[in-house]
Structures are given as C-alpha cells and as structure tokens.
Amino acid sequence: MKSFRLTIWHAVCLAGVLIVLYPLVWLAFASVKPPTEILSSLDLFPDEFVFDGYSKGWEGAAGIGFGRFFLNSFIVAGGSVIANVLSCSLAAFAFARLEFRLRGPLFAFMITTLMLPYHVTLIPQYIIFQQAGLVNTFVPLILPKLLATEAFFVFLIIQFMRGIPRELDEAATIDGCTVYRTFWHVVLPLSKPALVTTSIFTFIWTWNDFFTQMVYLNDTDKFTVPLGLRLFVDTSSESNFGAMFAMSALALVPIVLFFLAFQRLLVEGVSTSGLKG
C-alpha cells in the first residue's frame, strides 16, 4: 500500500515536471528542425536533424556575428559579478559588524530601495550617463553595481554575515588585526557561500536583463545576446525560425550550465533569503 502511494506520488511529480520542462525540450528540438517543420509539424522529434539554424544564426546581423553578442554578454555579466561581490560585501560588512551612528536609518533606507521600481531613477541616470558620453558603452550596466545599488545582495550578505560567530572576529581584533584585515581574512572567507550565491544570481539576472541593455546599447557591435535575439522579435518569416530558435537555445545554455552546477546552492539561496527567481 505504501509503495503504491509512493508510485502514484512519483507519477504525479513526473507528469508535472514534464509539463513544466516541455517548453525547453520543445526549444531544443525546434532548434534542429528544418524551419518549415517547426510550426507545421506537431512531432516533438524532428524527421531529420538540420543545423542550418545554428550556422545561419551565428552570422548575426549587420556584419556582426552572434559570437560577438555572446562575448559582450559575458563581459557585462562577468563585470557585474565582480562589481556586485566587491561592493555589496563591503557594505554588508559595515551593516552586519560595525557600530556607527546612522546605522539604523541607513539600513532602513537600504531595505526601502528593495521595493523601489527601477524606472523612478532610470531617466536621470540615463541623463547622467548621456552627459558623460557613456551611453552605448558597458559602463552604465556595470558601474551601478560597483556602487552596490543592488540592495538585494547587500541584504543577502548581511544576513549571512550575521550568522558567523562574532567570537571569530573578536579574537582576530584581540590578536591585533585591524578591521580591514578582519574583514578580508576572517569574515570574507567565511562568507563564501553568500558570495557564490550573489555571483550566480548576478550572472543569471544580468544575462537575462533586457530592459537596461536595450536602453543603453545602440550599436550592433555593442549588442548583448538579448539584443541580438530582439532582432528576431518582429520577424514573422518562417525562414528565420531556424536561426531564431537555434540562437534562443544557445542563449539559455550558460544559464542551464550554471543551474546544473549550482542548483543546490541556488535553491538554498532562494529559500533562506527569499530572492526572487
């Protein structure tokens, strides 16, 4: 009886997983179908495997290959990861460990910015970067992260640092460590799980980000992957379907790899800090 119920439970779960992952499986197979077959045939599996979409899509647009878009996305996402980890851990250490007069109000302010829609600061930020001649560069995409504007991660790291026993840094202080050395040699290494979670989420969110990149990047040679895919948004011609789905599938590969490598950490990060997906 017990094993019967367990079987039913697995069957229900598997059916759910099939439905939920179907769009991704569909994409994987659509990317190797002949373009005419993608929407006309309902078979999940292609009659024949065709890789034209990949070769055609990789050529990109306006003489700039899709490889360039990937490189740009990696630069933006990689730069964002480094910037976020550095700046957010510095701010988090101050909030989690140091006494200072404005701690209460500043912490409350930081929590409030969690709920602030990005759009309220968007236009003045754009004006600043435009005046500085930095529109159409990656600076507006990375610099805000170097200034710890992503309060989510500051909060995540604070929560983690609060769990590190204070005796450890007190011992370091007694041994003559300055606050800076205590931060660098004691607290930061112990915060590694939070820093890894921050890195992964920063990478994935930056990789997926469309709005900011569309606002700031104009020239095709600066395009990131989402902007490269945008070129397909208004195509309705069937001949482009192959390239569109091939590049869409490629665009998801880094996220899938990250997910497979770090899924436990990701899921744990969400359940302990309540990060949005």
Binding site: C13, L24, L90, V120, F210, F211, L229, V233, G277
Partner: protein, 301 residues
C-alpha cells in the same frame, strides 16, 4: 573604549563609501531629479520646461494608451500573482509529503524561474501559443478551438500571464522551506483529534504559513508591476494586437526612449512608484488581520 568607537565610525564609512556614493548619485539624486522632471516637458536635448501638473492630468484624461496600459498591467497583476502563488503552494505541498526524496523535482520545478525571464523563453512562448503551435493542438484535441493566442486581443495577455505563472519556482522553494518549519506534532495532534486533511490545511498549514504567503505576495506583486520582457517580445515590440500587451513599463519605455518625452515618462514612473507603495502599504496593513506569527514578535514595520 571611546577611541575604539570613534575609529569604528570612521572605518564603517570607509566600508560604506561605494554604497553611500551609489545611494546619493544613483538613487536619491535621480529620484529628486525625476520628481522635478515629472512636472516638466523635457526631450533630453532642450532645457526642461515647467508645465505644472499637465503630465499627470494628460495621463488620466487625454491618453487612451496610458489608460490601456494601466488596465493591462492591473489585470496582469491581479490574475498572475494569485495564480502563481496558488500553483507554487500546491507544488510545494506535493513535494513536502515525502521528505528527503524530492531534490530532483524541486530543482526541475525551479528551473523555469531562472530561464523564463529571458528573451529566449519569451520567443519560445510566442511560438507555443501561435495558431499552429502545440498549445492550440492540445486544446483542439480536447475539443476546445482557440485562435492564435498571441495574435488575438482577447487571448494575448493570457499567454503572458501563463508565462508568468510558469516561473512559479522561486515562491515554491520559499513555501517549501516554510512548510518544513511547521512542527509535525501540530498535524499529529490534530489528526488524533479527528481533523481531516482539508481541515488541517485550513486550520494549521495556512495560518502557520501566513508569514511566508505574505512575503511571497509582496515580492511577487512588486515584481509583476514591473514586468517588461514578455510583454515586449510576445507583443512583437509594440504592445501586441490592439495594445492588448501594452504593459505599463513597455509604454513608459516607448514614451521615454522612442518619443523622448522624458517629462511624461518620469511622471509615469512616479505614478508607478505611488501605486506600488500604496499596494504594499495596504498588504502590510491587512497583514494584521490574516498573518499569524508564532512568536510574539508581530509586525515591526
């Protein structure tokens, strides 16, 4: 001791320097400027011209597309958020029944949360919901004939709502963590007293889970108000058939960065901020009525 404190003060601001600079230069400063711009007519190239409340008046009296974007976004928030929370709670409860063996399922259900926000996923979604796509084929098999969802003004928004619900993984994982916190003795005691599963759900699971429901509700609502990518991609970059996918942020983008009507776009951003603040405040206030805290901590904020 006093010296240590003083030194600590200075060091704290060294650590906080990047954050403080960012908060002033990229958050507080820009907020003040955008509030000012919302009362002006500004095209990015000429000096802003003060127009008083004109932008706000125009929004609500003389801009059909604005009102359409409010309608579309409200519908999206009101439908997708509850649907997403119910789905995530159901899946979390399904996974919570067998402790230990659900790692694979949890990960699989969570995956769309990471992938679904991308342009790529939205492109796939558009294909799945067109006339010849798999969704219509399945529905036709069940005897229900639907038009091409993404091309029909009455259906298009629903495909975007479903794309939002598909990303139920994050709240699901948070619910699952919350469910594990509920002491098993509560359920056992209630069972011994003769309470069935439904009664236990209403009288134990829901009250014990209410702080988590509250948290997920606030986060998902704030998130939903700002949805952009699916509306842009599925609506073909313009707002969909008869503007049926014209989300608030999409219209704001068009006004600000295609028409360069930056004063009006700033005013729109401030209305969005006001609406999010009001909705959050209402949810926080209502929390006193339905959120149950086990400890006597209560709501501090």
């Amino acid at each position: 001791m006093a010296d240590f404190r003083a030194a600590n003060q200075r060091q704290a601001y060294v650590f906080l320097a990047p954050w403080i600079f960012g908060a002033l230069a990229l958050t507080v400063g820009p907020m003040v400027v955008s509030l000012y711009l919302s009362f002006t007519d500004y095209d990015l190239f000429t000096t802003p011209r003060w127009v008083g409340l004109d932008n706000f008046v125009r929004m609500f009296t003389d801009d059909g597309r604005y009102l359409q974007s409010v309608k579309v976004t409200s519908l999206y928030v009101l439908v997708s958020v509850p649907l997403k929370l119910v789905t995530s709670l159901l899946v979390a409860m399904l996974l919570n029944t067998r402790a230990g063996s659900h790692g694979f399922y949890r990960a699989a259900f969570y995956a769309p949360s990471l992938l679904g926000a991308s342009v790529a996923a939205a492109l796939v979604w558009r294909a799945l919901f067109t006339s010849g796509g798999p969704v219509n084929a399945v529905l036709a098999g069940l005897g229900w004939h639907t038009p091409s969802w993404v091309d029909d003004p009455d259906f298009s928004l629903w495909s975007i709502i479903l794309l939002g619900v598909w990303q139920f993984g994050a709240p699901m994982v948070i619910f699952l963590a919350g469910l594990k916190q509920i002491p098993a003795e509560l359920h056992e005691a209630a069972s011994i007293d003769g309470a069935g599963p439904v009664s236990r759900f209403w009288h134990i699971t829901l009250p014990m889970l209410s702080p988590v429901i509250f948290f997920n509700l606030v986060m998902e609502a704030i998130h939903a108000f700002q949805a952009f990518t699916p509306a842009f991609v599925i609506g073909g970059g313009r707002g969909g058939p008869a503007d049926s996918d014209l989300f608030y942020t999409l219209y704001l983008f068009q006004v600000g960065f295609e028409d360069f009507d930056m004063g009006y776009a700033s005013a729109m951003a401030w209305v969005l901020l006001a609406v999010i603040a009001i909705v959050t405040a209402v949810v926080f206030r209502s929390a006193r009525l339905w959120v149950f805290y086990d400890d006597d901590g209560g709501l501090d904020s």
